[in-house]
């Protein structure tokens, strides 16, 4: 089988008369909407807002670390900054990033449905996110919180006088937003698939969101419980984590990481879904080993629940439980390796072009491979003793979550931007942004591996002078990275009015979302689609294009 796909002539494309964007006007029509696409846009705006707040904090952190002394800000201010950076980036940006924006927009369209199963719960989830975000900002404005995003007891319960309860409430509420999103996805994927859309015809994007949704629904309540216990400990002193009352301070970490480790997969799995779509589209090939990739997502979700104690290898857990958790950690690394190799093999005998989303996807593969392999360093028990709680770990999880997830998010935004807005962005500039991000990212975080092996502890406002050169490199990289993130913000906004009209299928991709107009109608499909072809079937697409009367616009 072979496929030639030629890109459509975009010069003749026009914006459709009716779309979800212009079906109704006014602020109220947005704030009370049940349309998953509008809610996705609401999410996109809000998470971008929080991303830049969290990013500004990262900038300040790096600026403080330019010199070994605590000179730019007091140690307390520094502690509040990295705490807020963590809380905002994880709970208000990374967790909702791909699922709540791109996933929200696309899952119903990809399965051939008009909307998610529970549109009002979807809207509620956005409002909960906003309440959570507002509470976070309140904690910040009232004076900040300096527990670290991990809220380690007994520091958070007995030794700090900052706004721990407000921040805890914020995450508690934002957690429910994530639970509702996950619930909505699971029900939609189970119950609302179009006729002919079997499980194994679903795009891999849907599979990975399904796996992530299970994690959200099962994991987040445990985080909620842990945070409520911290709040109760602070307010009425119930003593669950207090050794003097017979409690166990380590219990908190068990509960916290029982969510927060799967949370890493909540963050990365949807990103992996994006990468599958992008790689397939730009190499015009079905993803190599569709079933393996689909089930590796599920395997990651399942194993992801049984590795939480690898955050606690040095904390006096029993040596034998450390053994078990180390072994399981090694096992969870395997499905990620499978995915990386399958994506690489997808390129084989493809017909590859290098549009912006593809560049971001390549960036993802490189950075996520490094992030994943350094995870093996940390999963290896004896090595973890030296590396944990140092900058090595900081570098590792930034490679996974920023290098991996953020690259995937940007790949996804660039890939589906024409679908969401109906317009293209300037291609040259966006390629430059992808390149700048990649270079800036490596310059920022690679030196941190070295300084981590030297033993520089994380969360230090001051450090020994011999670590300075590496920290200066890191700070320099952060400024490059900052430019890499500002650029898309600018040209994507610009493209809303001035971008070229995209047409329904600018990349010649096979997903259902590309067979409808851009931007889509409120009801997505004029008539319920009947699916009689496999996912990533480029022959089907070629025949379809050949046979149908071209009606662009």
């Amino acid at each position: 089988m072979s496929t030639i796909v030629s890109l459509p002539d975009q010069s003749t494309a026009t914006l459709p008369k009716r779309s979800y964007l212009n079906s109704e006007y006014g602020l109220k029509s947005w704030l009370l909407t049940g349309d998953h696409k509008r809610i996705a846009i609401l999410y996109l705006i809000s998470i971008t807002f929080f991303f830049f707040i969290g990013g500004a904090m990262a900038g300040l952190i790096r600026l403080e670390l330019l010199t070994p002394q605590t000179d730019l800000m007091a140690a307390d201010t520094y502690n509040k900054l990295f705490t807020m950076h963590g809380i905002i980036m994880i709970f208000l940006f990374l967790v909702p990033s791909v699922p709540a924006t791109i996933g929200n927009f696309l899952i119903p369209i990809m399965v051939g449905a008009k909307d998610l199963a529970f549109p009002k719960i979807n809207l509620l989830s956005w409002y909960l996110y906003i309440v959570g975000g507002t509470l976070t900002l309140a904690a910040l404005i009232l004076g900040g919180v300096d527990t670290g995003w991990t809220f380690t007891t007994p520091l958070s319960t007995h030794y700090l006088n900052t706004h721990v309860i407000t921040a805890g409430m914020a995450i508690f509420v934002a957690g429910f937003s994530s639970i509702f999103t996950g619930l909505n996805f699971i029900v939609t994927i189970h119950r609302m698939r179009a006729p002919g859309m079997t499980w194994f015809r679903l795009p891999l994007f849907v599979w990975s969101h399904y796996a992530a949704s299970i994690l959200m629904v099962l994991g987040t309540p445990v985080l909620a419980i842990a945070l409520v216990l911290v709040i109760l400990e602070r307010t009425i002193g119930i003593g669950v984590f207090d050794p003097t009352k017979g409690g166990d301070p380590l219990l908190f970490q068990h509960l916290f990481w029982f969510y927060s480790h799967p949370a890493v997969y909540i963050m990365i799995l949807p990103g992996m879904g994006v990468i599958s779509e992008v790689i397939s589209t730009f190499s015009r090939k079905r993803v190599f080993g569709y079933t393996a990739v689909a089930f590796s997502s599920v395997a990651i979700a399942v194993f992801g629940f049984f590795v939480w104690a690898h955050h606690m290898f040095i904390m006096g857990v029993s040596n034998y439980s450390a053994l078990v958790f180390s072994l399981l950690t090694m096992l969870v690394a395997v499905p990620s390796a499978i995915k990386i190799f399958n994506w690489s093999a997808t390129l084989y005998k493809g017909s590859i072009t290098f549009e912006t989303p593809m560049l971001y996807a390549f960036g993802f593969i490189g950075l996520f491979t490094i992030g994943g392999l350094t995870g093996v360093f940390l999963g290896s028990l004896g090595m973890d003793i030296h590396l944990t709680e140092t900058y090595f770990i900081v570098a590792h999880f930034h490679f996974v979550m920023v290098g991996g997830m953020l690259m995937a998010f940007l790949a996804g935004v660039h890939f589906w931007w024409p679908k969401m807005t109906g317009r293209m962005y300037p291609e040259g500039l966006s390629k430059l942004a992808a390149l700048v991000t990649f270079i800036g990212f490596n310059l920022t975080f690679f030196p941190q591996f070295i300084v981590g092996y030297l033993g520089m502890p994380r969360r230090y406002a001051a450090y020994p002078p011999e670590f300075q050169v590496l920290n200066v490199l890191s700070t320099a990289g952060a400024s490059v990275l900052g430019i890499g993130y500002l650029l898309p913000m600018l040209y994507l906004t610009w493209s809303l009015k001035y971008g070229k009209i995209a047409g329904p299928n600018p990349w010649q991709a096979t997903g259902l979302e590309w067979q409808i107009q851009s931007p889509p109608l409120t009801e997505n499909f004029v008539e319920t689609p009947v699916v009689d072809y496999e996912a990533y079937d480029y022959d089907w697409l070629a025949n379809k294009t050949k046979n149908e009367v071209t009606t662009v616009g």
Binding site: A75, I314, N319, F341, L373, S380, M383, L454, G455, V469
Partner: protein, 380 residues
């Protein structure tokens, strides 16, 4: 170059770029083992990364659209997929076994290790040597001899990290944790608290000085406080009234403590407990938790009455307790003295709370005069 910029700045830059670290010193017996695993992990990472990069770049060049306008659809290959499942799995298993061996090596101290106690608090490290040397944010150790650290926190989680030795362990409130190392290179190394512990987390640092054995002997002799930990413990044991029940007499209300350390004691609930540091500490703070078989659970808790240092003194004392002779002597002396002593007597001495051991010295010495040397004399 230095003609164009100020010589001061030039000097600064040169100094800055030539005096920075890239790799930590290998200063303990475990460090070469840790580094070997590290280099192995780097090696497999490089191999993995090179393979992925070769695949991605190779295919991108070979099958770019200009060169290969037609994509050939391939479903997948079970054989290939099995290959790249099993090979990484096998490599990860090697990392697992190797890492586990190293972990057990680092966390299982040899039996001949000398013991030093570490107490962490916001924001300082206190080290207590068995000979009674006290240090703050510093630790002196001999080279060529295994050193075990028994550590506890008196407030939040801390983590005791010596990068040059490649060892680290969480320091937890209410629980002893241990780590050991054998320094090999004399020198001064960083000591960090790596678990975020509040405002001055980044100031909770110190220096570990590894010394040649003879230098260490000199240091030990020069910095002794005059009282070993066990001696402090003996004094506490008497002043807290422990001796009145744990006297070792046949009819005593508490179990005999001589030679109890390292033994297995039967508990009231029928099980046995191994007596280690943690068991002793728990039994002082939370006595009803493990009541020894044959004794009534009448011991009051000492929670909040003894500092962590005091507990360490008591533990050291009980560890070294081989006979009850001195306990009984102290007891007899105080009973003889009791009617005469009144408010100033031993039993009526104020409760020992959070006194730093150094402060204790003087009173201990006066007490020793009172009890040991001149038993009949009433001191005022």
């Amino acid at each position: 170059m230095h003609y164009f910029i100020s010589p001061v700045l030039w000097q600064f830059l040169v100094n800055w770029l030539t005096h920075f670290a890239l790799f930590p010193p290998e200063a303990s017996s475990i460090a070469p083992y840790a580094d070997a695993l590290y280099f192995f992990l780097i090696l497999i990472s490089l191999v993995g990364l090179v393979i992925v990069a070769a695949l991605v770049f190779g295919f991108s060049i070979l099958y770019r659209k200009e060169r290969n306008p037609e994509a050939t659809q391939i479903e997948g290959s079970t054989l290939l997929e099995a290959t790249w499942t099993i090979i990484p799995l096998a490599l990860f298993m090697v990392c697992f076994v190797w890492g586990a061996l190293l972990y057990f090596r680092i966390y299982n101290p040899p039996t001949n290790a000398m013991n030093i106690y570490i107490v962490g608090k916001q924001w300082m490290w206190k080290a207590e040597h068995p000979g009674g040397q006290h240090e703050i944010n510093a630790l002196h150790v001999p080279i060529g001899r295994p050193v075990q650290l028994t550590m506890i926190s008196q407030d939040v989680f801390h983590s005791f990290s010596i990068p040059a030795f490649r060892v680290k362990r969480e320091v937890i409130p209410g629980r002893y944790t241990t780590v050991w190392f054998e320094a090999t290179q004399p020198g001064t190394y960083h000591l960090f608290c790596t678990q975020y512990c509040g405002t001055l987390h980044s100031q909770m640092i110190g220096e570990v000085t590894a010394m040649k054995p003879e230098d260490y002997e000199a240091w030990t002799a020069g910095s002794t406080s005059g009282m070993s930990l066990a001696q402090n413990g003996e004094r506490l044991f008497a002043s807290l009234g422990c001796n009145s029940c744990h006297s070792g007499n046949a009819g005593a209300r508490g179990p005999n403590l001589a030679e109890v350390y390292g033994s297995r004691v039967p508990l009231a609930n029928g099980s046995y407990a191994f007596v280690d540091d943690a068991f002793l500490r728990d039994s002082i703070l939370n006595p009803t938790l493990h009541t020894t078989s044959g004794f009534a659970p009448i011991m009051p808790t000492y929670q909040g009455q003894i500092s962590e240092e005091g507990l360490i003194d008591l533990v050291e004392y009980i560890k070294a307790l081989h006979s009850n002779f001195r306990i009984q002597q102290t007891l007899n002396t105080s009973e003889v003295q009791a009617p005469n002593l009144g408010q100033n007597g031993l039993k009526a001495e104020p409760t020992y709370t959070n006194l730093h051991s150094l402060q204790v010295q003087k009173s201990v010495q006066t007490q020793k005069q009172g009890t040991g040397a001149q038993p009949g004399v009433v001191k005022q």
